[in-house]
């Protein structure tokens, strides 16, 4: 265990943990935008910036990618940090004025308006969709394309990606909700990736529940027969309950027959 100080409190942290993880464990609030526990951290949005003091040297670092060190002194709410955070939020507000997550941040940290020329983007380029597709799903259907102010998340050649399985994990982690997954009838559309998928119909209840492509991929990845994926989650649960009940019944029968 490593001992460090966060906002005046002495904290014991796990070796190898980041300042953000440690702070969250001890209920110390540090705001984030591009952080999700299921994927690697990037330190891109800089909203989680904190002051880190080691000896007589002070610097500003993103808490999500800063490893804890013994004797470190961390301050999460100094004037420097508050001012920095305000400017960052203003910059994001100017880029994405209609995004709720940014508006909420602005409200929370008392950023009233921005005097920069506003644009109309809905993506904050946090990169989480790309990371989840690469690290959790394993398909890398999308990537960060171009550089600098022209940077965007896109499919190869801005066309529907042959690697995309329509699972929607990207939409799940997206903080702004700009990736819209629409299920209508037997079709799923993810407009942002120009993708359309045929949905699998549940053999039990008849509902359309997941893209066939996704289920195919899962079957291969888990080395299970595709038949396993013809039933939706709800029906699986019911089936599970039924089979558990049957198991209990046959246990009882056995006991009775033995006695």
């Amino acid at each position: 265990m490593i001992t460090l100080t966060i906002d005046g409190r002495e904290i014991k942290a796990k070796d190898g943990a980041t300042i953000l993880e440690t702070a969250r464990e001890h209920k110390i609030e540090i705001p984030t935008l591009c952080y999700h526990e299921a994927i690697s951290s990037a330190g891109a949005c800089r909203i989680c910036s904190v002051e880190v003091i080691r000896g007589d040297r002070s610097r500003i670092a993103a808490a999500c990618v800063s490893p804890v060190e013994p004797g470190l002194v961390v301050k999460t709410n100094t004037e420097v940090i508050t001012n920095l955070r305000k400017v960052l939020i203003e910059l994001l507000l100017a880029r994405c004025p209609k995004v709720k997550a940014i508006q909420d941040l602005a409200h929370k940290f008392k950023v009233k308006k921005t005097d920069f020329k506003t644009e109309d983007e809905d993506c904050i380029l946090c990169g989480m969709c790309v990371r989840v597709c690469e690290q959790i799903v394993g398909k890398s259907a999308i990537s960060l394309v171009n550089r600098g102010t022209k940077r965007e998340v896109a499919t190869p050649f801005y066309e529907a990606s042959s690697a995309c399985i329509g699972c929607g994990s990207c939409a799940v982690v997206c903080p702004t909700g700009c990736i819209k997954v629409e299920d209508i009838g037997d079709k799923r559309t993810i407009k942002k990736w120009k993708a359309e998928f045929k949905l699998q119909q549940c053999k039990m209840c008849g509902k359309y529940f997941a893209p066939e492509a996704q289920l195919e991929y899962l079957a291969k990845a888990l080395n299970l027969p595709e038949k396993e994926f013809e039933i939706c989650q709800n029906c699986r649960v019911i089936l599970g309950k039924i089979s558990k009940a049957e198991e209990q019944k046959s246990e009882q029968m056995k006991k009775l027959s033995l006695s």
Partner: protein, 149 residues
């Protein structure tokens, strides 16, 4: 085309970490990077197409649109800027009737800018292919175009 791509991939032992050098060699050969080639690279190296596309669009050296036979790179480094590099670019845009980033209709020249080519003592300067020209004066640019077919 596929065989030629194979050869280049083999030159780098099909090592995915050599992706940038591989794309540079391919571009040197084909003068730009068409989609079909990037697809082949993705398949040949076992690297997701999204990653190949990400790299091809991040680095300025790569062009995903066809280029002219000769790439003019006008230097806009600090020394060239201070000694009139912008005027050289503007003059070339007028002379060739294209804007920065565009290619002449006869596919002879593609006009680009670069910062910097390391000829700062001879500012303003430009490169065409492997040839460097320094101490440029707008009126003398005509002589340079003539050297190229």
């Amino acid at each position: 085309m596929d065989k030629e791509i194979e050869v280049i991939l083999k030159n780098y032992q099909k090592d995915p970490s050599q992706l940038i050098s591989i794309l540079q060699d391919l571009q040197a050969k084909y003068n730009w990077l068409p989609k079909e080639i990037l697809l082949e690279v993705s398949k040949g190296l076992g690297v997701p197409l999204s990653r190949v596309f990400s790299i091809a669009t991040f680095y300025r050296a790569f062009s995903l649109t066809p280029r002219g036979r000769h790439q003019i790179r006008v230097c806009l480094g600090t020394a060239c800027h201070v000694r009139g590099g912008k005027r050289i670019l503007e003059r070339m845009e007028r002379d060739l009737k294209i804007k920065e980033g565009e290619t002449t209709p006869d596919s002879k020249f593609t006009l680009q800018t670069v910062r910097c080519i390391g000829c700062c003592s001879l500012a303003p300067a430009l490169i065409i292919g492997q040839d460097t020209y320094g101490r440029l004066i707008p009126d003398k640019l005509k002589e340079i175009y003539q050297d190229y077919k």
